[in-house]
């Protein structure tokens, strides 16, 4: 197994782990982290696919490499926006984790905490 294949398999595992965290963790911050884990796995896979496309004297296909660069920056800004939303939610309500037993609709007594 080459180093590139191993890195690709690790990318696949990162996507799986991130997906697991995204589904099972109720805390928004954990969800953001898990989502970034999925992103890291995708970037790694992109890097491996770019490397497979080495041709014409280049060590890798420059198109997926360029897309990873823009993808990393967009992922960072999306995470920053998500964390800002979570912080604002905490300032407003004092909590960010949804209650597991909450029914649909607003609480009957109007209290939110």
């Amino acid at each position: 197994m080459s180093a590139a294949t191993l890195a690709g398999l690790i990318g696949a595992a990162l996507v799986g782990l991130g997906l697991y965290g995204l589904i099972t963790n109720p805390q928004p911050l954990r969800k953001i982290l898990a989502f970034n884990l999925i992103g890291s796995g995708v970037f790694l896979l992109f890097g491996i696919i770019a490397r497979k496309g080495a041709a014409a004297g280049f060590v890798a296909d420059p198109v997926p490499q360029a897309m990873v660069i823009t993808g990393i920056v967009v992922a960072f800004s999306a995470s920053a926006l998500a964390i800002a939303l979570v912080l604002r939610l905490f300032q407003e309500t004092g909590r960010v984790t949804p209650r597991p037993d909450a029914s649909a609709g607003p609480p009957a007594n109007g209290a939110d905490t």
């Binding site: 595992a13 996507v15 589904i23 896979l45 497979k52 496309g53 041709a55 198109v63 800002a84």
Partner: protein, 222 residues
């Protein structure tokens, strides 16, 4: 829990299968990039893809960054609008972090500009250089040696939109000066690309710290 495990397994296995069965030789755009690289005057194919071959994509991606800053700023309570993000500056900065924040930036700023500049021919570019410059500003803000500017600052806003604005203006000018939208005139591509990248680097170096600093949390100075 079990549901989560079951759901991730097929996804991971499918991706792993894709990695193991990638076609050989793989489909690649490297020959096309190599063929068109001399037209841009650049030596780094990734920079050529970013600022020349897929320039519209990169310009819109810069717009996404500006939108993210708008989104973060819009979370500010009304009374703080126009104020500065971040807590007020402490009387005494924390000594260890302050030492690091005084030691690193002189080197980091040089390295950031260097990485942007060599990006035309070597690994590097506007994103990487801008990110290093952003880190240098962030560390001085974290050490409380500097404060984030108020969001009403015209200079801050100009710096935030300089990258996409110059990029878009150059792209539109391509209609008149070259063969079309986002086309560069033959033989003059490299200076134009570097001109765009200067403003891109500036915008990235300002956007990333503003995203980290968060919405305004202090009353604006009247």
């Amino acid at each position: 829990m079990l549901l989560g495990f079951r759901s991730l397994r097929p996804v991971t296995l499918a991706l792993a299968g894709v990695v193991l069965s990638l076609p050989d030789p793989a489909p690649t755009l490297a020959p096309e990039a190599a063929q068109n690289l001399p037209g841009t005057g650049l030596g780094n194919p990734i920079t050529a893809v970013l600022i020349a071959f897929r320039s519209f994509d990169t310009m819109l991606e810069k717009v996404v960054l500006v939108l993210a800053v708008v989104g973060v700023w819009s979370l500010a309570p009304d009374r703080y609008w126009g104020g500065a993000p971040g807590a007020p500056r402490a009387a005494r900065p924390e000594s260890t972090l302050a030492f690091l924040a005084q030691l690193l930036p002189p080197f980091g700023i040089l390295i950031g500009i260097h990485i942007f500049w060599v990006g035309a021919d070597e690994p590097g570019g506007a994103f990487q250089g801008g990110a290093i410059l952003a880190a240098m500003w962030m560390i001085t803000m974290m050490a409380r040696l500097t404060e984030a500017p108020p969001v009403s600052s015209i200079w801050l806003r100009l710096a935030l939109i300089a990258g996409p604005a110059v990029f878009l203006a150059t792209g539109v000018a391509g209609v008149a000066m070259a063969s079309g939208f986002f086309a560069y005139p033959a033989g003059f591509a490299k200076p134009l690309i570097l001109f765009i990248e200067v403003f891109m680097t500036l915008s990235i170096a300002v956007t990333l710290p503003m995203l980290v600093a968060g919405p305004p949390r202090r009353l604006p100075r009247r």
